[in-house]
């Protein structure tokens, strides 16, 4: 399989990279770029663990060819905040106990980020709709919804 070359912006930095044309965005991030924050859960677009933002919109990175992000801006959890300087959403998830096993957390936080960027003061129902594509099998969602509400109040 002939590799293809594409350029895009990853977590604020321009990048040009070669990869096989059938590679998903998820595989590119994890296996070629070593960004392991983005998780593979189901691999078929049902769990949302692989959520990243493309041009500010939440997408399942397992449902896109990496080639499709040519010229676009991709944000993964690694680009959202650092240990020293976490995003308000990350602080809020910790403070509200919205993390148990943590596997859904990167995707959950990025879905919440896409929501708050578009709608800084969402209603509870809007929060639920925004994270409907992210499954969490630990928390029962309540703490997650409260964490997103708390983050929106801080902004």
């Amino acid at each position: 399989m002939k590799d293809i070359t594409i350029s895009f912006t990853l977590n604020g930095k321009p990048i040009t990279i070669d990869f096989p044309p059938t590679m998903s965005l998820l595989k590119l991030l994890r296996e070629k770029l070593g960004l392991l924050g983005t998780k593979e859960g189901c691999g078929i677009g049902e769990c949302g663990a692989c959520t990243v933002l493309v041009n500010g919109k939440a997408v399942n990175s397992c449902m896109m060819l990496a080639a499709q992000v040519e010229g676009k801006e991709v944000l993964t959890i690694e680009g959202l905040g650092t240990k020293e300087n976490p995003d308000p959403l990350q602080i809020s998830f910790v403070e509200n106990g919205a993390i148990q096993c943590g596997f859904c957390t990167p995707g959950m936080i990025l879905s919440a980020k896409a929501l708050l960027d578009k709608n800084p003061n969402p209603k509870r129902e809007e929060i639920k709709k925004a994270i409907e594509g992210n499954l969490c099998r630990c928390t029962g969602y309540t703490a997650i919804i409260e964490a997103i509400e708390a983050a929106s109040r801080k902004k």
Partner: protein, 285 residues
Amino acid sequence: MESIEYFRPSTLDEALYFLKENGDRSRIIAGGTDLMISLREEKLNCDFLVDITHLDELKGISVRDAYIDIGPLTTHSELSESEIIKRDAPILAKAALSVGGVQIRNIGTVGGNIVNGSPAADTLPPIVVLEGVLTVKSATKTEEIGIENFYEAPYKPIIKNDEILTNIRIKKIENGERFLFEKLARRVSLAISRMSLAIVLKANEEKMIEKIKIACGSVTPTPVRIRSVEDLLMGKIITEDLADKASILLGEEMVKTTGIRWSTAYKKPVIGNMLKRALFELIGF
């Protein structure tokens, strides 16, 4: 699979010309939410992936007289958020919003939904009752096909491998028309529809039906209007008795077109009741 090449045409014409030469060995990617699953399962038998996702010529929503033109690469999110669709075809906005989750709606396109041709596709029943007409282009010709004639079987649209769906034209909801889209699934979110129902109708003050169009998802193998039920209701005053007759007939029609299945014991009464409830909500009896 190992030798698949990726081709990204920069215009529709370039895509059509490529397909003229290589259509039988190509698969088109128009979003990717269905295709990526085939790719993952290594069930994608082709030599070329033709990525048209970025072609602006195939995007956008516009109104012309009583019709709306929808570019097939419009995502489900764009469809559900479009002011035009929300105002003039709200049943399609509601159906698009019921597809998958946000992440799927941001990638999946209405054209992909149509060409994939799943009997459970959420946007199809509304497009049927809004009398959708599809424009299909090849390098040499352009054709218009009514949505009901677009499939020979589930997942088998009649579009040829050198053709691309380039436009979806639907009728606006007219003044005085009542409408409804209802989807029933195993859970509220991220669910494939078990059954869906789209209705557009007109009734006068005596509750007499003057016009009615009904289509269902996951009930008929391909998206079609249920004309026997429409005929039963047309020109009649809605009563509970008539609604019961229509709901029984709809269940029977489903069995007639899809046969008896493991799910029939559930689906037959439930699709009927969905219709009865819809008639009650829209007209009352």
